[in-house]
Amino acid sequence: MSLTFYIAAVVAVAATSLAVTRLNAVHALLYLIVSLLAVAVVFYTLGAPFVAALEVIIYAGAIMVLFIFVVMLLNLGEEAAREERVLLKPSMWIGPGVLAAILIAELVYLVTAGTTTSNPAPAVAPVRVGMTLFGPYLLGVELASMLLLAGLVAAYHLGWHRPSRPEAR
């Protein structure tokens, strides 16, 4: 049903606007993860299940883990541990928890209701996506691999250069 799309859309907009307006980076990351999961549900209701899975695995998984690593790297020590206990107090989980619960309820409904009623949009099968990706877009795949290599080298360079700078001067 298209109602699931609208519920997920409202959750996405609410979570994104909350993420952008939070003062604390950890709170914002919690809401941002919920926002990405909501967009994944939107993809599913639109009939793109493969991309919905990619959204959860890569965006909400890998990219957000990188963000959390950096946020945690930037404040280390005793003070940070104490601060974290205050930041992640139980009341902080209510907002993201409620939004995520809505998404879970929607997902359970979509899965249990079956594909005929819940997913009227003509789904583009992952097979077709793969055939298109490695057919006409093969050059794009190669370019993406070059881009990822460039990103890897740049991140390595920026991270490695830092400790060696003081002795060079």
């Binding site: 799309f5 859309a9 907009v13 950096v70 583009v124 920026l158 991270g159």
Partner: protein, 100 residues
């Protein structure tokens, strides 16, 4: 079937929220997060358009956007660490002066 207009409207709203965050926030981590929101909204627009015509091209472009976002965020976060190391601050205005 969700009309393509509503899907594109959702993408536009998410993009606007990301843009507002990008312009309003001065903390570099929030700026990177807003960029992620905007990239995600652009990908959503591609998916909606691809589903509208029942073609797989929209999803293919989303996969490219995903790869680009991963590369962008790894370089961006390395720059965040470098900025923090040099200026002991996450405020982008701390680095507004160029060395020249």
């Amino acid at each position: 079937m969700v009309p393509a207009r509503d899907g594109l409207a959702l993408a536009a709203v998410l993009f606007a929220i990301g843009l507002a965050g990008l312009l309003a926030r001065r903390n570099i981590i929030f700026i990177l997060m807003s960029i992620e929101v905007m990239l995600n909204a652009a990908g959503l627009a591609f998916i909606v358009a691809g589903q509208r015509w029942g073609q797989a091209d929209g999803q293919v472009v989303f996969i490219f956007i995903l790869a680009m976002a991963a590369a962008e965020v790894s370089v961006g976060l390395a720059l965040v660490l470098e900025l923090y190391h040099q200026y002991k601050s996450l405020d982008v205005d701390a680095a507004s002066r160029m060395k020249g």
